[in-house]
């Protein structure tokens, strides 16, 4: 099966006063139609810039310098701005983390959804309004006729995120990029939003890229996972393989540092496993493997040569010298 989205060797750079940083540094990945790909990583690893690159919505000082983003065979990077605009919303749509800052505070939510619909479909204002009410019902907002007339500040955080999702799916996109869609929400609301996304995905046969720092969310929602570290993908596998047998020391460290993974109850000797140090500053990336300064296994080779993302087990790739040698 050909993938719906196929990213090849993508590099996105930012020119800042302190110099150039490579926020996305040679990323290749693909998502098959109907699949949910989870992209996991800590803050600053480049996961948001990767998704903004796919949408071609980078901030003014960001630039894609190489690579291809093939969406159903078409390279999005070769499209004109006008052609890209026609695709955004209709073919691929995005849900952001902060529903309050991504909604316009001075328009009714119904009008905002209707605007998105009218941009892509030739319908009357009245029809677009009716469609947005219907969408609000679809995303589980009770009394949608009344809610459509509300302003964003009238709604709770969970409802705002439902509105954002309604807007994103309004033109039935084939690919939905969700960037930390539940991070600002309470855990009971998060569970409901994830369930809603799953339901919409199934109903609309959507493909989803879910960007998150929460491994629990990935375990529950994704079929495939890519782990990002300092602008690169360091491991990619099916969700079962990644959780059963993480190959990269960074993935292993992440999984072990979750409080839920440790001994149950208050054992006086309890300790969490940690990853020493902190995420590297993209201005000072260590030579060789980017994780080498925090890695428990660092060999001499790790300090000199950067490992490439290589298939180590069937369908399971990692960028690590140790995994390469030990996995065979």
């Amino acid at each position: 099966m050909t993938p719906l989205l196929d990213i090849k060797d993508l590099a996105t750079v930012f020119d800042t006063e302190r110099g150039r940083i490579r926020a996305v540094d040679g990323v290749s990945l693909n998502v098959a139609a109907g699949e949910t790909l989870g992209i996991v990583g800590e803050s600053g690893c480049g996961k948001t810039m990767l998704s903004l690159s796919v949408m071609r919505l980078l901030p003014a000082n960001g630039r894609i310098i190489s690579g291809e983003i093939l969406f159903d065979g078409t390279d999005l990077l070769k499209l004109s701005e006008e052609e890209m605009r026609a695709r955004r919303g209709a073919d691929l749509a995005m849900v952001f983390q902060e529903p309050m800052t991504s909604l316009n505070p001075v328009f009714r939510v119904g009008d905002q959804i209707a605007e998105a619909i009218r941009l892509h479909r030739n319908v009357s204002t009245k029809q677009a309004w009716d469609m947005s009410v219907e969408l609000l019902r679809e995303v589980g907002i009770s009394d949608p006729q009344k809610r459509a007339r509300d302003y964003p500040h009238n709604l709770s955080g969970g409802m705002r995120q439902r509105v954002m999702i309604a807007m994103a799916v309004s033109c039935r996109p084939r690919l939905l990029l969700a960037d930390e869609p539940t991070t600002a929400l309470d855990v009971t609301i998060q569970a409901q939003i994830l369930e809603l996304m799953e339901e919409l995905k199934r109903k609309n046969k959507m493909t989803v890229i879910l960007i998150t720092h929460d491994l629990g969310v990935v375990a529950q929602s994704a079929q495939k996972v890519a782990v990002m570290y300092a602008g690169k993908i360091v491991e990619s596998a099916s969700v079962e393989n990644l959780f059963d047998r993480p190959l990269h020391p960074y993935t292993q460290g992440l999984l072990e540092s979750i409080p839920a993974a440790c001994a149950q109850g208050p054992d006086p000797k309890r300790r969490l496993k940690t990853i020493p140090g902190s995420v590297p500053d993209l201005y000072h990336i260590p030579p060789g493997c980017r994780f080498s300064d925090r890695c428990a296994y660092g060999f001499e080779r790790c300090l000199r040569e950067e490992p490439a993302l290589t298939e180590i087990l069937p369908g399971h790739q990692a960028a690590c010298w140790k995994a390469l040698e030990g996995g065979r």
Binding site: L254, R271, T274
Partner: protein, 322 residues
């Protein structure tokens, strides 16, 4: 059990909110509603709840950053709201707070050493020289070296800033630390470092923690005893393992069911998670509109916290029978 370090008795805090320019009618919101709770010396009490449940207001009342509408808080038997200025100073020396946002809670124009030293200056402990030494000692304890002493908040990473916040709280050698979401803005690998540090410090300094968090996994790791708060009320308190193994309150069960499990093969939810927390100013149980078990009595009477099992308290009319 051991000595009660802190005792909270029928504590209430009501805020008046105006309905806005077009609706000048005032409403009142009960952020903390008849809270009854105790913290024992040497334990970590985890206080868990979702946003808006009143857990931060409770922490602010405990540090006397807010005055209560009614009710009392006793620290080692003394009512903290009737303290004289002098007694209040002594109380604040004994009860210190660690904040969530380490960036906005650190003075950007002071060096790390200056920030950590300041409580000693305020409380007039030691002279210039000994203060500096004490501050440097504490810095070493939280994993910051002398080379960090002259740096400013913006030069540190999030995890290091939280270490400064912890050092500042510890420098007065308090008995009780109130930690309000101390790790929720940190990445998971850094969060683990800070949680381990807090455990070590508790042992080294013989501390008592009131650990406030929305994260049930973090609370499970840290707490000896857990209190669950919902819309201003404590709905359940129990020793750690009892709460997680046999939760009694339907809200606690819903919370636990909502945590995404780090196991791709376990996707079934034991309890349906639905609804949002909406405060209703009436007599009934605050959770009833989300509760799958609600009966007639739930809308008539607010349930009291009662001991259902040994040390296991629950505020639910149906506790033990559902």
């Amino acid at each position: 059990m051991t000595e009660k370090l802190l005792e909270i008795h029928q504590l209430c805090k009501t805020y008046n909110v105006s309905g806005g320019f077009f609706h000048p009618k005032k409403r009142s919101v009960r952020a903390v509603d008849h809270v009854e709770m105790a913290v024992y010396r040497g334990e970590t009490l985890g206080l868990v709840g979702e946003s808006g449940c009143g857990k931060s207001t409770l922490a602010r009342l405990l540090t006397r950053l807010e005055e209560p509408t009614s009710g009392q808080i006793f620290f080692k038997g003394a009512d903290i709201f009737s303290f004289s200025a002098e007694e209040l100073t002594a109380y604040r020396r004994n009860v210190q707070m660690i904040f969530q946002d380490s960036y906005s809670s650190l003075n950007p124009r002071q060096s790390a050493l200056g920030i950590i030293k300041e409580p000693l200056t305020i409380h007039r402990i030691g002279d210039q020289k000994t203060r500096e030494k004490t501050a440097l000692d504490i810095m070493a304890k939280v994993g910051l070296g002398a080379q960090h002493a002259r740096r400013y908040a913006h030069e540190f990473s999030g995890g290091q800033r939280q270490r400064i916040g912890i050092a500042r709280a510890l420098v007065l050698q308090p008995e009780l630390i109130i930690a309000d979401e101390p790790v929720s803005s940190l990445d998971v690998s850094i969060q683990a470092q800070i949680l381990n540090l807090l455990l070590d410090l508790k042992k080294d300094f013989g501390l008592t923690y009131l650990f406030v968090s929305h994260d049930l996994n973090v609370i499970r790791f840290m707490a000896d005893r857990v209190a669950v708060m919902y819309l201003g009320k404590i709905v359940e308190t129990a020793p750690n393992f009892k709460l997680y193994e046999r939760p009694l309150h339907p809200y606690t069960r819903m919370l636990l069911a909502a945590i995404p499990v780090c196991d791709p093969r376990r996707k079934e939810k034991s309890v349906a998670v639905r609804g949002e927390a909406v405060a209703e100013n009436d007599q009934g149980c605050a959770f009833r509109n989300r509760c799958p078990y609600r009966t007639a009595i739930c809308s008539e009477q607010s349930p009291e916290l009662q001991e259902v099992d040994d040390q296991h308290f629950c505020a639910c009319h149906l506790a033990g029978s559902i």
